[in-house]
């Protein structure tokens, strides 16, 4: 196991030759997937930027966004990344199943907090006549931000599955790979959120 464990799940371009290192290979594959996913977000951002002013006489950012709620979401998500980092460290230094699970549950709770506030915001927007069918601007918003939310939701589901796997198998190679990949995914979503926060919310209200 020790020779098979990497220091970190970073992006490694070199070939592994003689012995295919499964951990290296799987993590690299996930990095490549994230690049592909980043293209999707990039295009949604571009669409949003090009439709930002296509409000068609409907409500714009100032009428629709609630910066207080968004600030709480941002705090919850950023904090959840730190907590996930603790889970990764706990796994790396062999602190045992229970502490990894504890950190993951905390991450999950923060993720769910984020989602709760986000859904609340969406419902408020609907009520204010700013649903996706209102204008090009709201369409672009609801194409981009809930897409991120959907990613967070699948990340939460994945976390639950990993916790159940851990309870059943302990931290075996597959769980370890799962936790490493979910970490990449979770931090990636954090970065995407930072761009959403700056471009959509701060940019819209500025």
């Amino acid at each position: 196991m020790s020779e098979n464990t990497l220091d970190n799940p970073g992006l490694r371009l070199r070939a592994s030759y003689h012995h295919v290192n499964r951990e290296d290979e799987v993590n690299f594959g996930f990095w490549v997937f994230l690049m592909s996913d980043a293209i999707i977000f990039g295009l949604m951002f571009a669409t949003y930027a090009s439709m930002r002013h296509a409000t068609a006489g409907g409500p714009g950012p100032t009428q629709l966004f609630d910066i207080g709620s968004v600030a709480i979401q941002t705090g919850a998500l950023l904090l959840s990344s730190v907590v996930y980092g603790m889970a990764s460290l706990a796994m790396k230094y062999g602190s045992g199943c229970r502490s990894v699970i504890a950190w993951l549950v905390l991450t999950l709770l923060l993720g769910l907090t984020f989602l709760g506030f986000e859904v609340h915001d969406f419902l408020t927007m609907f009520a204010a006549g700013g649903g996706p069918d209102r204008s090009g601007f709201t369409s672009a918003f609801f194409g981009l931000v809930p897409l991120h939310g959907l990613h967070v939701t699948s990340g939460c589901l994945w976390m639950v599955v990993l916790i159940v796997q851990m309870l059943r198998y302990g931290i075996d190679d597959d769980v370890r790979l799962g936790v490493q990949r979910l970490a990449l995914f979770w931090h990636f979503l954090d970065i995407v959120w930072i761009v959403i926060f700056s471009l959509v919310y701060l940019g819209g209200l500025a």
Partner: protein, 701 residues
């Protein structure tokens, strides 16, 4: 909502292809109804016959364990190519139907405009997403792992999932023949025409979900191949020692990773517009249809190179093999391949020069487009110089390659013409464009795929294909293509718009008559391919090549038996040079038994790919027909299956070293007993797959 509506959504009797002609029996309705019903019956009868035959021969278990759940890259590749051939047959018949309509289209013809619209939409959609893509992915699947000296791709189960999603997309297109009507919006599905306002029917929905499914599968394939090539190369197989086909596979995979997401984004945005009332591309409320054109071609142009690069790779293997040389200018060809892959992201705007952006923008993209001619030219010269002073044999793959080199240059020149925005304004949307891209894709893609099919068929199945019928087919393809599309250049310059069902000026008739003859020749080519396959299977005993190297070729895939064993390599090869197998043959080390065999870990079968194929097609069908219960059920099953897969732990099985030694020694006996053949005799039954090394050495000197 009534119960029937809940269960069937908007599916009712009007969805059947013969209903219109029963309700309104006009002549045109009857003609179109009979054609559509005939096509639908073919699908239904074909499906029933397949099921009946499998049941009759009791092969369900075999099909399930050896194919549908298999994660062996070679079998997955073969299944991909099977999809490609079935879909090729359908789309080719549709093409011939369109040519016939236009040949008789003076003053009306026999097809209704709606039927014609469906034909050009399905033809394009199928040829790109369900013929070309499965064909090239299939070939890469079979060949690439063997070329780099590994036993499987990095993610074998994901490979099978990719296949499943492609299969689901193809199934949705086939189902659209039987119930409902496909989109009439062309393979590029431009809104606002495909928006709900103008197209409330199921057609665009069929298109959206078929394309989305296959796009998702292709994206995963790209990741899989790229990671395999980066991480699984045999010891010593540095990047600059990889065969050019593998280089092409790598570039294509990178394009898939970055170019499939725009397609997914475009189709899903259109779906949001149609299902949820979004305004991404609508005329009203701030929608912007030009954004669709941008997104679609941000995928669409790299896609052209996703299609063509693997064919370039095939030519780069076929031409050296049948010229008895190694590839000329390897490094420059690698650089050219990479240059094409990068430039392909910088030219998408040339698909809509007429959309109204400034002259400076058009000029920039026009120049970028012309630049692609440079690396492509490098490649053509590389292949020509490979042939120079070689010992060329005019086998079927070589004939395809030669036809490609001549025809592709013509197509490329018409591309340079179109790259000039001011000329493009004149010929935009005419048959000139249609002639141009068929001129690129038939020689540039299809000929390459067919050459690869003939070249590597022995590696997959252990016997050579019949040469005579293959040659007949190749000649019919080549001349059929020329007759079918060269007249369209002229008709396009005379102003004939593409996708036009009828016309009223007799000046076009002669051009369409010639094109119709070409279409018939191409149909003959398809028939010859079918006959060739049957004849080859019947004669397989005479054409076996168990020793593994029927063409005296250069790269590692020929260093193992034909067909390749499940685990590909008994012992992973050590690579010391480019064209590793040729070097080994020259040094007499190609057939040395390894000192030590070790156990091999291989992935177990997994049903996940097939499950996702079923749930994927159910979800898509439900979405098309608004059967929400089916969508919910299929989505739940999809997520459930993926979670279940996460709990699987026992996913590898061991092949014991003794078994591998036994297989290897048996093969070595075959090799020892084989009679080495010279290159000129490779088409006679005496060729059992062992090349005459003395001749190789002579050539080396």
């Amino acid at each position: 909502m009534s119960l029937t509506q809940f269960i069937f959504g908007r599916l009712d009797l009007h969805s059947l292809p013969f209903w219109a002609m029963i309700e309104h029996p006009t002549l045109q309705n009857i003609v179109n109804g009979v054609i559509a019903t005939g096509a639908a019956s073919l699908v239904v009868i074909g499906a029933i016959a397949t099921v009946a035959l499998i049941t009759y021969f009791g092969q369900w278990r075999y099909l399930w364990t050896e194919w549908l759940t298999s994660v062996d890259h070679k079998r997955i590749g073969i299944m991909y190519i099977c999809i490609a051939f079935v879909m090729l047959a359908r789309a080719l018949i549709e093409a011939a139907l369109m040519r016939t309509q236009q040949a008789f289209g003076l003053g009306g013809g026999f097809l209704s405009p709606h039927h014609f619209g469906e034909l050009f939409t399905t033809h394009g959609t199928i040829m790109i997403f369900f013929m070309a893509m499965p064909f090239l992915i299939g070939l890469i699947n079979i060949v690439m792992p063997l070329q780099i000296g590994t036993r499987d791709v990095s993610f074998p189960v994901m490979n099978s999932v990719s296949l499943g999603l492609t299969m689901a997309g193809a199934a949705i297109v086939m189902i659209s023949l039987v119930v409902g009507r496909f989109s009439t919006g062309g393979w590029s599905g431009y809104p606002p025409y495909t928006e709900i306002t103008f197209n409330p029917g199921v057609g665009p929905d069929y298109w959206i979900w078929a394309v989305s499914l296959s796009g998702l599968g292709t994206m995963m394939t790209g990741i899989n191949f790229a990671v395999t090539i980066y991480k699984r190369r045999a010891p010593g197989m540095t990047l600059m020692r990889m065969p050019l086909f593998t280089w092409a596979a790598l570039c294509t995979s990178i394009l898939m990773i970055f170019a499939m997401p725009p397609l997914t984004v475009a189709t899903l945005m259109l779906a949001c517009d149609r299902y949820l009332g979004f305004h991404f591309f609508t005329n009203a409320a701030g929608g912007n249809m030009m954004n669709f054109a941008n997104l679609f071609w941000l995928f669409g142009h790299p896609e052209v190179y996703i299609l063509i690069l693997p064919a370039f790779g095939v030519y780069s293997e076929v031409i050296p093999a049948f010229s008895g040389k190694v590839l000329y200018g390897y490094t420059s060809l690698v650089l050219a391949t990479m240059a094409i892959a990068i430039l392909s992201f910088a030219v998408w705007l040339h698909h809509f020069f007429t959309m109204g952006q400034s002259a400076a923008v058009n000029a920039t993209f026009g120049i970028a487009t012309m630049l692609i001619g440079l690396p492509t030219g490098v490649k053509i010269y590389g292949w020509m110089l490979t042939m120079f002073r070689g010992r060329i044999r005019f086998t079927v793959p070589m004939v395809y390659s030669l036809a490609f080199m001549m025809l592709f240059v013509i197509g490329g020149l018409s591309g340079i013409i179109l790259a000039n925005p001011s000329i493009d304004y004149q010929v935009h949307n005419t048959l000139f464009l249609v002639a141009h891209f068929h001129n690129m894709l038939i020689p540039g893609l299809l000929f390459g795929m067919l050459a690869g099919y003939h070249f590597w068929f022995p590696k997959a199945f252990g016997f050579r294909l019949n040469e005579r019928w293959g040659m007949a087919s190749a000649l019919c393809w080549i001349f059929g293509f020329m007759f079918a599309f060269f007249p369209l250049y002229a008709a396009g310059l005379l102003g004939f718009p593409r996708r036009t069902v009828a016309y009223y000026n007799p000046i076009y008739v002669p051009y369409f008559a010639i094109a119709e003859f070409g279409a018939l020749l191409v149909l003959t080519a398809l028939a010859c391919l079918v006959v060739q396959f049957v004849v080859s299977v019947v004669q397989r005993r005479e054409n076996r090549v168990p020793a593994g190297d029927p063409w005296n070729a250069n790269s590692l895939e020929w260093s193992v038996a034909c067909p390749a064993p499940d685990y590909d390599f008994a012992v992973l090869p050590e690579v010391t040079a480019r064209d590793a197998f040729m070097v080994a043959k020259e040094h007499g080390t190609a057939y040395l038994a390894p000192e030590r065999f070790t156990d091999i870990e291989m992935p177990r079968n997994s049903p996940l790919g097939f499950i996702l194929c079923v749930t994927g097609s159910c979800a898509a069908f439900g979405l098309v027909w608004h059967m929400w219960w089916l969508v919910a059920l299929a989505m739940l099953a999809t997520v459930g299956a993926m979670i279940w897969h996460g709990f699987v732990r026992d996913y590898e099985h061991i092949i014991p070293a003794d078994e591998i030694r036994r297989d290897y020694m048996r093969w070595l006996q075959v090799v020892t007993a084989a009679d080495p053949v010279a290159r000129d005799e490779e088409l006679v039954p005496r060729n059992t797959g062992l090349a005459d090394v003395h001749e190789t050495l002579e050539a080396a000197e």
